[in-house]
Symmetry: C2
Subunit: 199 residues, 2 copies
């Protein structure tokens, strides 16, 4: 950032127009990869994105050591994309982006992802959804417990932005790491129940 020395103000990176501009085009997935690497580096947590499941049909061996896959297809995952360990607890979440500004379309959350989140929640995992409103450049954490309640009480195809803003935890953009969701989670821990402790 080239500064204007006399106009310099104290501002958070999220409000800094230079950073905001530079970040355009960075996907939530890219940001989460950086964030998880950072957590691993500083030894805060061990959380990984699962590889995309691919069904391999044909493999050739152009050289003796290297297998080259020549025919394969994407398969549907049966779980969420992210899981791991934080403070001795199982962590499991899915991350979604939307360009909508007023609501999150539930069609973006596949049935098997929701089923998996509910499943691990029942078994005692800290389970949540990260939703980024990319047009607003805002990311929120929604605990599965809140999500289940919303779905039980509402028969809508989407979750309003206002509900997410009230029920979720805003995750401010930072440089390291870009999506500091564990700090948001720590705040959730102090607010109350984040997981099912019956099992």
């Amino acid at each position: 950032m080239i500064g204007y020395p006399n106009k310099k103000k104290t501002q958070s990176p999220a409000n800094d127009p230079a950073i905001s501009k530079a970040r355009r085009g960075m996907s939530l997935e890219d940001d989460l990869n950086k964030t998880n690497s950072y957590y691993l580096d500083v030894d805060r947590a061990v959380i990984f994105k699962k590889p995309t499941p691919i069904q391999v049909v044909e493999v050739s061996y152009p050289s003796r050591n290297k297998a080259r896959i020549t025919e394969a297809y994407y398969r549907q995952a049966s779980t969420t994309d992210y899981n791991g360990v934080y403070k001795g607890l199982p962590i499991d979440f899915e991350a979604k982006e939307t360009v909508n500004k007023t609501s999150f379309p539930l069609a973006k959350l596949h049935r098997h992802q929701l089923d998996h989140l509910m499943n691990v929640y029942r078994h005692g995992a800290v389970a949540f959804l990260l939703i980024r409103f990319s047009s607003l450049d805002e990311t929120y954490m929604i605990m599965v417990k809140s999500l289940i309640q919303y779905l039980a009480e509402n028969d809508r195809q989407s979750i309003p932005y206002e509900w997410i803003k009230n029920e979720g935890m805003f995750i401010p953009y930072s440089l390291t790491p870009p999506v500091d969701y564990l700090t948001a989670l720590d705040k959730m821990f102090t607010k109350g129940v984040t997981r099912n402790e019956e099992k």
Copy 2:
């Protein structure tokens, strides 16, 4: 199994020669897939094998909906193959087979797998190794805590079968599920510390 009525004896499935013969060629991975499906069906735990990471280089679209991967390569995983949630605890393990009868060659456990196991163990996961001696048709569970101790005290390239038999937990073969490692784990829980509770 075609029985010989007059010779029928009470015996465990593992010792039944008919079952033992039928099982030959079933890999530990196949058995674990069935076991994890079973645990999910009876709602005992939510544990999945992670997909093999594949780097996709080229994709073609022969029809509008179906993406066909035409060039891709296997990548090295940075974690273990299996993880999930059981009794509110994070579970993480790697499964290995050997045809050796007297020891498990440590070369089969890759550095990144061992590092990952140690990492999740430190962060409070229940971390272990499943080792199958396929020639003997015997499967054992070794807690990472024991493994770390073995590696600290021994400068060998392998772990003797006798050590595994003494320090590990034998997992008898059963029909449903084939590798009932959670029942073995329950016994480990009653025996003592299975995870690091400092973090």
